[in-house]
């Protein structure tokens, strides 16, 4: 483990990973600061372009976009009351009132400092707990992998904001899409029409590009006006912002832990973690009456939690291949595309790669702090870029990127079809994340189910005979019943 860590530090110090992480953070801040664009879309667009890169550098680039995007989301949230990403929604509550009072720079400095500290704390924690994660992951066999992917699919109930039925339909439609191609374990063609290009199935990366890039652009095209609907004067003090965060170490630490903890639950994601951290800050604050009116603690708690969520979300993604959000689904796509299989390998043979990504993420926080504090007075420009300038370029990148994945036209038509379907699903509140979870987890679940049944000669008892499996089965039952139990409890 120490050897892997030393190797990771040596890899980062070669310089190239640092170049990609700086580029990634800058791209992330840019896409994150544009309301409606966000980290997932930026990562999905960049993913096909990482093909010529070394696997480690590609993952560093993607994870840095994710990290930069999380911070970038707060810029529009503070300046425009329009969160760049859903994770920054809680930041609007006190960030925007601060801007209106003439403290936009103070709020942006608080956001950069709190995001950086949240990232630092949780990456260190992630590195410290990684030996235990290794032990946990090594306990998993095919039955447990099937159950854990089923657990991920069950998360649809949590992920699906709004009607549970709509969430289930989205998830199951995703599973259906994933069944196209050759079946696992048995050489059976499914829905291929005998066409060779369908043998490998529908690329989930192409699906992600369609769902995140094209669908989002169609949605943005219909919004009135440009990205920025209004703006405030950029005034305030960087020093006050930094001091305000440093004076509240306990709040930063507590919010970071909340962000990491909730981030590690697939499906819960940063939107939930930031609101829980905000609610906890409100509950424990001695100045709770000023929350919603520009309270510093409101901004600090939300911003500490959102970058901390990244570390948490890497746990299920790297350990089990279960993405907890759109961004981690794209990251998972990057891992697979570059031949890095999530699971035990990433914590044994490829442990140095895992540590390299963690270290890069740690260093990426310096870039966030540097960019956040030095370019703070220029941030307003980003939010004033017109949507109509961005749309055609993103469509070109999305469509061409789809072709670059495997050099086949099926992926391009997948991008287009899922872009249009995704737009209508989003319009009528069908969960896109549930659809993505279905597409990503379908093959994992099916393959491990088939393997488990071969191991047990067809007996389903294999899923309840080991304590670990039993615990996961109970968790699945509780999760599936959760929404209905909650409703019954409230009634």
């Amino acid at each position: 483990m120490i050897d892997a860590f030393s190797e990771a530090i040596a890899t980062v110090l070669t310089g190239e990973p640092i170049l990609w992480l700086v580029l990634g953070v800058l791209i992330g801040i840019f896409v994150g600061s544009l309301p409606g664009i966000g980290a997932s879309l930026g990562m999905a667009l960049i993913l096909p372009l990482t093909l010529p890169l070394d696997g480690v550098n590609a993952i560093i680039l993607l994870v840095s976009i994710y990290s930069g995007g999380m911070y970038g989301g707060s810029i529009a949230a503070i300046l425009l009351n329009a969160p760049g990403t859903s994770a920054a929604a809680a930041t609007t509550l006190d960030g925007y009132p601060l801007s209106r009072k003439g403290f936009a720079i103070t709020a942006l400095a608080m956001s950069a400092t709190a995001s950086t500290l949240g990232g630092f704390i949780t990456i260190i924690l992630l590195i410290l707990i990684s030996p235990f994660l290794v032990q946990l992951v090594l306990m998993f066999g095919s039955p447990e992998y099937f159950l854990i992917s089923l657990l991920g699919i069950s998360m649809i109930a949590i992920v699906a904001r709004g009607s549970v039925i709509k969430g289930i339909i989205s998830g199951m439609f995703g599973l259906l899409i994933a069944t196209v191609g050759i079946a696992p374990m048995i050489p059976q063609q499914r829905y291929t029409f005998g066409s060779f290009i369908l043998y490998d199935g529908i690329s989930f990366v192409a699906a992600l590009i369609g769902l995140f890039a094209i669908a989002e652009m169609i949605n943005l095209a219909g919004e009135k006006g440009g990205v920025a609907k209004s703006s405030v004067e950029i005034t305030g003090s960087v020093k006050d912002g930094i001091t305000s965060v440093l004076k509240r170490p306990y709040l930063v630490f507590k919010s970071s832990l909340i962000g990491m903890g909730i981030g590690s639950i697939p499906g819960a994601g940063s939107t939930v973690s930031t609101f829980v951290a905000y609610a906890e800050a409100l509950r424990s604050s001695s100045t709770s009456e000023t929350f919603g009116d520009g309270n510093h603690e409101g901004v600090i708690s939300a911003e500490s939690a959102n970058n901390a969520t990244i570390s948490g979300s890497l746990i299920p993604t790297f350990s089990f291949g279960i993405p907890g959000s759109g961004a981690t689904a794209v990251l998972l796509g990057g891992l697979i595309m570059h031949g890095l299989q999530p699971g035990p390998n990433l914590f044994s043979a490829d442990l140095a790669i895992t540590y390299t990504v963690f270290i890069a993420l740690f260093l990426g926080n310096f870039v966030i702090l540097a960019v956040g504090l030095t370019l703070i007075s220029r941030m307003g420009y980003l939010t004033r870029i017109d949507t109509d300038i961005i749309i055609p370029i993103i469509v070109v990148l999305g469509v061409v990127g789809g072709y670059l994945l495997r050099l086949n036209w099926l992926d391009v038509f997948t991008v287009l079809a899922l872009g249009i379907i995704g737009y209508y699903m989003k319009k009528y509140n069908y969960s896109i994340i549930a659809l993505v979870l279905g597409i990503v987890l379908g093959p994992i679940a099916e393959e491990n189910l088939a393997r488990s049944l071969v191991l047990s000669d067809g007996s389903l008892l294999i899923f309840v005979t080991k304590p670990l499996s039993l615990v996961i089965v109970i968790a699945i039952v509780l999760l599936t019943m959760g929404p209905f139990l909650k409703k019954a409890f409230l009634d």
Partner: protein, 211 residues
């Protein structure tokens, strides 16, 4: 059922109905087809298709279901939804508190900024649903979807190098960009495609008709 009721109901049809019918037809075909697969490879698609069909049917006929079933189909049971509701309460307060007369007094541009997309769409849809070419042309979402579809199909025929700048020019003309901006975006799209061709050595200048 009299004629006016039928036409009223037809007018109530939305793209969601088309989406659900599409999902049902696709899933039904996948369900039937799965019986031709060697077992157990048909199990998974059959299960997913059956649930998709069932759920879509429930949503399609939700207005005709008994109230208890309707509430099961429509109600949110998101275990984390209280946080989002808190945010909505805080952000929507200002608009929700206004009376109809006060809303009527707000200038159109300001109203569009303050109302949610759903509220705006509701207002737009209540203004009449007659389709015309002009209406379709004014619908930016429709036009972007149509232009993207044409872009993909023509790229398939003649390659991305020729079609990408044309797509950008078409979109820029449609939204009324200045000549300078249109030129810049077109050059950028050409540079992006040409850059990929050179760096990745991918034949983006070829389609099925040329290449």
């Amino acid at each position: 059922m009299n004629e006016s009721t039928l036409s009223d109901r037809l007018r109530d049809l939305t793209a969601e109905h088309a989406l659900l019918v599409g999902l049902i037809l696709l899933s039904a075909w996948m369900f039937v087809e799965s019986f031709t697969f060697r077992e157990p490879s048909g199990l998974f698609p059959r299960f997913a298709a059956a649930v998709t069909i069932g759920g879509s049917l429930l949503l399609l006929v939700r207005n005709y279901l008994p109230p208890s079933v309707q509430s099961f189909v429509m109600e949110s049971a998101d275990v984390f939804d209280s946080y989002e509701e808190d945010l909505e309460d805080l952000t929507d307060e200002e608009v929700e508190d206004l009376t109809a007369e006060e809303i009527a007094d707000i200038p159109d541009e300001q109203l569009q900024e303050e109302l949610t997309d759903e509220q705006l769409e509701e207002i737009e849809s209540s203004e009449g649903k007659e389709w015309s070419l002009r209406r379709l042309y004014d619908d930016k979402r429709f036009m972007l979807s149509a232009l993207t579809t044409v872009y993909v199909v023509t790229s398939y025929l003649v390659g991305f190098l020729a079609t990408s700048p044309l797509f950008v020019v078409a979109y820029s003309l449609y939204v009324g960009h200045s000549r300078v901006l249109t030129g810049f975006l077109t050059a950028l799209s050409l540079a992006v495609v040409f850059g990929f061709m050179q760096i990745l050595n991918v034949p983006l200048d070829r389609g099925i008709l040329f290449g």
